[in-house]
């Protein structure tokens, strides 16, 4: 048979370009403004979408092939972990509370990222960014589901996981991560990309995933560790996209710079506030510590982030605002947060406790400037009280910051003995803030932030009781009614770790697995 000389072989880059580029077109039966209605209102100017450098160059067939291979391995490990009661090999049962925090606070954000990237994946007129966003949307539903699937096994044996979807929309502390993502998806497509694609996935992601995934690895939690490692190659793609977005927007028009800078300031601060939960987890919830929050901030933000912003300086970008405050805060926020959760342990779906002496010593050593002076005495006092049968449970509700929704627990920069309060009068109401950062973010978009569903306000307004509950009835117990509304099982999901059902069960089961009783 006569074989024709094969055609000129295309390079990978060239081939990918043909596979994807040129698919879109300038619409004529409908105007481009109607087809892509949201790309102009934020004020970002894009002149040439073709200038977008595709960071992934991944065709769908290659995507399916690689990802399926990863899924096969991941689910094999999840199955084995479940079958072997892998949960009994974690360092101690306190660790499981870090997993609760993750499923309740983080996994739903993965799902929101999936929907958010579908929005930008529909709204950008350029083929390159659309495909990149949609692929990330697909990855994000992967992350949400692999997390749900691996943590599902913990839910079968331990409390605090069972109503994560219901609690996300109701429980006080979960409004912190949730409002963060609601804020991002209600912004325009460009702000979403700077908020999530750049600030969260690029600048702050190491401070979220490294602590949880390394925390899992350090504490014998193969299930959580495996989805983390499996997600890592996806994350690498997402980080590339985040950086590409910033450079693309800035290169398109000089007028974009001030808008982008304001978003970077806002979203670094918003993200940093959410990371308070991670800091607390690192310093208090991991029986086997990886590093302190302070060290993590220094490595992943000050060093890595510093290099990044040096690189971006040529576009006119300066480092985010309020870094001087963050610099001072790093000695404090994890301790302030843990104290808060210790206080409100009755209204929370994971357990808290006073660290052991070894752990207190570790904290003293990691935080020489602050721990012994401000935080250790308080923890020791609470421990003494608990020994006397007076475990402290705070029953009054805290004031929340209108922007980040964290209780007003943070201290004045430069004075760790004084709570930081800021306020703004807007349309006949007074709004309260935990910091200059949160206050300024509010002032930039007050009409947005006055809408916030603040859990404490909602309780006081009577919106957090189940239908049919009568708050005027005699003997009405508001806390109990709110916990019903949360679907929180009193005495099982909440209160101190010491004496909890999780603690008892874990000890008993581990005994069964390791001893011949």
């Amino acid at each position: 048979m006569d074989m024709k000389v094969s055609k000129k072989k295309l390079g990978l880059k060239e081939k990918y370009q043909h596979m994807t580029r040129g698919l879109g077109w300038e619409t004529t039966y409908q105007s481009m403004d109607d087809v892509f209605p949201f790309v102009k209102y934020e004020g970002i100017k894009i002149h040439d979408w073709e200038k977008w450098e595709d960071p992934f160059r991944l065709t769908m067939d290659a995507y399916w092939k690689y990802q399926a291979e990863k899924e096969r391995k991941l689910y094999a490990i999840i199955d084995a972990y479940a079958q072997n009661n892998g949960h009994l090999s974690v360092t101690d049962a306190r660790y499981i509370n870090a997993v609760k925090l993750f499923l309740n606070g983080i996994s739903p954000l993965e799902y929101m990222a999936h929907r958010g990237f579908a929005m930008t994946g529909r709204q950008f007129p350029g083929v390159g960014p659309r495909v990149a966003c949609l692929m990330q949307s697909l990855d994000e539903i992967r992350h949400a589901q692999t997390q749900i699937h691996s943590i599902s096994n913990y839910n079968k044996y331990y409390n605090g996981f069972h109503e994560y979807r219901h609690m996300l929309e109701r429980v006080w502390y979960l409004s912190v991560p949730r409002s963060f993502f609601d804020d991002a998806v209600t912004a325009g497509p460009f702000e979403f990309m700077v908020a999530i694609g750049f600030s969260f996935e690029y600048v702050l992601t190491n401070l979220l995933f490294v602590p949880f995934v390394s925390g899992a690895a350090y504490n014998g939690d193969m299930g959580t560790m495996t989805f983390g490692f499996s997600a890592q190659s996806d994350e690498a793609r997402h980080m590339t996209l985040g950086l590409e977005v910033i450079k693309f927007i800035l290169e398109q028009d000089p007028d974009n710079l001030p808008i982008v800078q304001q978003w970077i300031d806002k979203w670094t601060w918003r993200g940093y506030r959410v990371l308070t939960l991670v800091g607390m987890m690192m310093d208090y919830m991991l029986p086997k510590r990886i590093m302190s929050w302070k060290e993590a901030w220094e490595v992943y933000f000050e060093e890595n982030g510093g290099a990044l912003f040096k690189d971006l300086a040529r576009y006119g970008i300066r480092p985010p605002k309020w870094l001087d405050q963050i610099e001072q805060d790093k000695d404090h926020i994890s301790h302030q947060a843990w104290a808060t959760f210790y206080n409100y342990a009755a209204a929370c779906n994971f357990h808290t406790w006073i660290p052991t002496d070894d752990e207190l010593d570790w904290l003293s050593q990691k935080y020489p400037n602050s721990f012994d002076k401000y935080y250790r005495p308080r923890l020791e006092h609470w421990r003494e009280e608990a020994k006397k049968g007076n475990r402290f449970y705070n029953k009054t509700l805290p004031m929340l910051c209108q922007t980040c929704q964290i209780p007003m627990i943070f201290t004045e920069p430069g004075d760790p003995t004084q709570i930081c309060y800021r306020e703004v009068d807007y349309k006949d109401n007074k709004y309260h803030f935990c910091s200059d950062g949160c206050k300024e973010i509010f002032e930039h978009e007050p009409e947005k932030y006055i809408q916030a569903w603040l859990p404490v306000h909602q309780i006081y307004q009577g919106n957090c009781f189940n239908e049919g509950v009568d708050p005027t009835a005699e003997g009405f117990d508001p806390l109990a009614a709110v916990l019903d509304y949360y679907h929180l099982n009193f005495g099982r999901d909440n209160l101190d770790f010491e004496g909890s059902e999780d603690q008892k069960n874990f000890d008993e089961w581990r005994g069964m697995a390791t001893k011949n009783v």
Partner: protein
């Protein structure tokens, strides 16, 4: 011999998450599809209204004229969560890869009669852009639809459409002399009168606001006529009988994909129509409208390969389409 391997057995406290148990019962283990799908999307106490659409919540069922008491009544018969989806597609792409290898390795593209090769290029290549439109529409429903049971498979559909656009591109690069065939096909898509009806159809879908109407226009009407016409009728039957079997091999992904995907589409239509007489009436109105437009838009496309036969074969396909929808509870 049966070996009884033993593991320490601990009685679980619960079988699954409470929101799943409320749907399937407390004593049942949930499937991965169920845990990864049911109630995953937020529904209550949203913090802010979208700055891009303040008249709606972030996720808002009132974006659609279709009303459901429970948006998780929709079920994907394929039970696709991400893992199941990628595994299914990875298997299909393996087949596609070996088909491409087979055709390329044996130089089968060069054995095609020149006229048939030209027909394929003319017919198939502009469909890259139609698939890209499908990708846009799937992304729209994923973004603005309500409930993970509906939005999740729409993202898979959207990415499948991108995959299909890329497979068509590969066919073009294999059959064409140069990458210029892609430019030429795009020119046809933009200017040639045979394609303007379809392009107008796709662009009109881009400005629809109701996610379920987009679903009807794309997944039900356009896919429902285009795939049977182009892949099942023209390529697998008509062209194959003229020596075009290698083309059928190169588009097997599309044929298999449609056979699988239509089951999900049927299930979706059936569930929405069975919900209420109002839904049924709305669906009938939409499907009739978009079916007629799709059939008209596809007629000149069919003529590229079928010439005078196009009319009869397209009417036949419309008849089959009506019968299919009747089974799903929609009378057209």
């Amino acid at each position: 011999m049966h070996i009884d391997l033993r593991t320490v057995s601990i009685k679980p406290q619960r079988q699954t998450f409470d929101h799943i148990a409320r749907r399937i019962g407390p004593d049942k283990a949930a499937s991965r599809y169920q845990e990864g799908t049911l109630d995953v999307q937020a529904t209550h106490n949203f913090h802010y209204r979208p700055t891009w659409a303040p008249e709606h919540e972030i996720f808002d069922a009132s974006r659609s004229a279709i009303k459901m008491a429970d948006w998780y009544a929709f079920k994907d018969p394929r039970q696709f969560y991400y893992g199941a989806y990628t595994l299914a597609r990875a298997k299909q792409q393996e087949t596609a890869e070996s088909n491409f290898d087979f055709v390329e390795g044996r130089g089968l593209a060069d054995t095609l009669p020149a006229e048939l090769r030209d027909t394929v290029l003319k017919l198939l290549l502009p469909l890259r852009h139609a698939a890209w439109g499908g990708n846009m529409n799937g992304a729209f429903i994923t973004a603005y639809g309500y409930g993970t049971a509906l939005t999740q498979p729409c993202l898979y559909h959207s990415m499948d459409q991108l995959g299909i656009a890329q497979y068509i591109t590969r066919v073009g690069l294999l059959l064409g002399d140069d990458v210029e065939v892609l430019d030429e096909a795009k020119k046809h898509w933009m200017e040639d009168s045979a394609w303007q009806g379809l392009r107008r159809y796709v662009e009109d879908c881009f400005v629809l606001k109701d996610p379920l109407e987009v679903y009807v226009a794309q997944m039900v009407a356009l896919d429902g006529l285009l795939y049977p016409l182009v892949y099942e009728t023209i390529i697998d039957n008509v062209l194959a009988s003229q020596g075009g079997t290698p083309i059928a091999m190169l588009t097997q992904f599309m044929t298999d994909w449609y056979a699988e995907t239509r089951k999900w589409v049927d299930a979706t239509v059936k569930t929405a129509a069975a919900e209420s007489p109002e839904n049924k009436a709305q669906l009938e109105k939409w499907i009739t409208h978009w079916r007629d437009r799709a059939a008209a838009a596809l007629m000149p496309v069919a003529q590229i390969a079928l010439g005078a036969q196009a009319d009869a074969l397209t009417s036949e396909l419309v008849g089959q389409f009506n019968a299919r929808l009747a089974k799903a509870g929609v009378s057209l």
